[in-house]
Symmetry: C2
């Protein structure tokens, strides 16, 4: 086997989750998915497709109907281009992660330098390594209140003409950090100068709570870029439509790259199942019913969890403007992998260790707040409070 593949890190989140195997009653907030089932209307569309016998190969780039629906959705959020122009830039992929892998395959040769803003979910760092790239990370910096921010001078200094690709995920998993439109324009202008591709993972675009944008969504590179910029934006049906298990996403590409991406899809997965794509097409038809309600609910989740967590003694965290994670530090707890395992065993609380997302996040914990029942979140905080109270050396308040 290849050394680089063997050395890819095992998922530390799964290592924690394994700690919960066979344990009753663990409250699980470790994975990045809601506990809510996909809306019935989406499932019914897939069922109807299966009943109609749509079990054959499909276009590499996705069903034209679905690409058109995605283009219309994109135009609605980003009116800078018409639906037909967006259509020519859309490739349907077998999940957001698959889209990101395809994007890396399209631009990264072995030996190329790739710059990645971290902390970030581990797949983004692993993918260029699989292609043989040299990965250089630029850490966000954390302030006293626990908010993670971009060190723009450090990022721009890291991106040189030798940098083939910048990978950035904002709204960010795990920190909730979000790029402003000005920052996106600055990064893009710099990358135009260095000839660097930008791969923007914007799957949390709709999960944005700041209310300071015209479309309600997080700022997007699509609004500051030209169609022919070296920009690839990755999206997913997972988060905004409660479709994690469907494995469907899409890429927005420079139009000249779309046919090339069709070839890469052929050689990676050939296509996504038609019945899966039928579900997604209906999801987009009903996006005004599904997504705003989902985002309002996630905001309630956030607004329930964050103040309760912040009130715990020794806990540092900021209110995330986007995403679906609380990211926090507990005073006196340095080894977050061990801490996360102990919380599973001793408190029945399942969180993800910060070190899974980058060395600079060691000591932090990620809590996915996408929970159908708000009571699960308050019960989780209560379990953490009781556990902290009996730890030596922390500011326990007693039971």
């Amino acid at each position: 086997m290849r050394e680089v593949v063997q050395s890819l890190e095992e998922s530390r989140i799964r290592e924690v989750a394994n700690e919960g195997l066979g344990r009753e009653g663990v409250l699980k907030f470790w994975f990045g998915e809601s506990d809510e089932v996909t809306p019935e209307i989406i499932r019914e569309a897939a069922i109807a497709s299966l009943q109609a016998g749509e079990t054959f190969y499909a276009h590499n780039l996705g069903l034209p109907e679905l690409r058109h629906a995605i283009a219309g959705y994109t135009h609605h959020l980003h009116p800078g281009q018409h639906t037909d122009a967006w259509f020519d830039r859309i490739a349907v992929t077998s999940g957001g992660v698959n889209g990101l892998m395809l994007a890396v395959q399209a631009v990264v040769d072995a030996g190329d330098e790739v710059v990645i803003v971290t902390p970030v979910w581990p797949n983004l760092v692993a993918q260029p390594r699989i292609l043989g790239a040299r990965v250089r990370t630029v850490p966000l910096v954390v302030d006293d209140r626990g908010a993670w921010c971009l060190d723009m001078p450090a990022l721009l200094a890291a991106i040189t003409p030798a940098t083939r690709l910048l990978i950035v995920n904002a709204p960010n998993n795990p920190t909730g950090w979000t790029l402003s439109a000005d920052e996106q324009a600055t990064i893009l202008a710099h990358c135009r100068g260095t000839g660097t591709w930008v791969l923007a993972d914007e799957v949390y675009e709709r999960l944005y709570y700041a209310g300071d944008t015209a479309n309600g969504a997080a700022p997007s590179f699509l609004d500051v870029a030209r169609p022919d910029d070296r920009l690839i934006v990755a999206h997913s049906f997972s988060k905004s439509f409660l479709m994690t298990g469907w494995r469907l996403g899409w890429l927005v590409l420079p139009p000249t790259m779309t046919p090339v991406m069709g070839k890469l899809i052929e050689f990676n997965t050939s296509c996504a199942p038609v019945f899966v794509q039928r579900g997604a097409t209906v999801a987009l038809q009903y996006t005004e019913d599904i997504t705003p309600a989902l985002v309002r609910h996630l905001q309630r989740c956030r607004d329930t969890l964050i103040p309760l967590l912040a009130a715990l003694p020794g806990v540092t965290l900021a209110n995330p403007p986007g995403g679906m994670y609380a990211f926090f530090r507990v005073e006196g707890q340095g080894d977050c992998l061990e801490l996360a395992k102990r919380l599973v065993r001793e408190a029945g609380l399942g969180l993800a260790p910060g070190s899974a997302f980058g060395a600079e996040a060691t000591g932090w914990l990620r809590w996915c707040f996408a929970s159908r029942d708000l009571g699960r979140l308050t019960e989780g905080v209560e379990r953490l409070r009781r556990w902290l109270a009996v730890q030596p050396g922390t500011h326990g308040t007693g039971l």
Copy 2:
């Protein structure tokens, strides 16, 4: 974009298929799939899963129930290992092509040499190129009767200690060529000596008509190899279970590679949809009902098509022992891409050009004989006969 990715060949099969866009009544035999819908019992299992709300992330390696079912199926065909031992060697993938791509990612570094037996379906050649490998092809040789055979001395001479990976697809798409167990043992012994990995695409294992094996299937590397051999075998639900559009397959791996493959799956697609895997689990439960009947039908298709084709003037082809393709040459027709396009336009007959599968197959045509209705095959031959009859310089027999 990467030069190597831009230079990947567009599908010549799609180029021919595009010729048929908007044309009524074309008989389409160009793609490698049956025109038969997935059996209802399989579709019902997926529907039940969707109704039950199984819309969440799943294990990277596949549902344990499905892996166990695949292990049992493998044990039934290849009793050399028990079901539990096979289980530890199974990874569920998002289609056969996805499994092959994952296998290449696992073993091929940029610059590595990969040897591939051709003609072969184009994805096998493209995948190592995407990883930056140097690809060396070893052509099968064709005899006077149109049968393609392995030139074993040439293959063994091509595989040296510098060869990282051998890729071989048998039963072969497009030629139907099949490796004997002796040939597999010879190849494996040689590759042990050179330290070369073997990636065997055995997705047509069950589509075998020679009747000279104990299990009825084509010879498999799994029957001549040890568990710890550097061998990866790729399988798919597409052909043996009429599930092309479901995008589900599996790999059989050395047991130590299985956890590594789980990581690669995480970084490529994360997992296959649970509802898709439920369909496949039921497919394996009913394999004795589904697969032998399917193979008998395909044999009828083959035995209908081949004699009719062979009887046409100027046509050379051999009876394929495996697979689902007739592969033939028409005297006086050298440019098979142009020939295939003309057959679409002038005869309403959709075939794949041999040059899509390797330069040595230029001048040949591939006809997928997986057809629900045998009448489509005879009508297709009749169209070819009529078309040939009016071509100058061929042995036309008149209308």
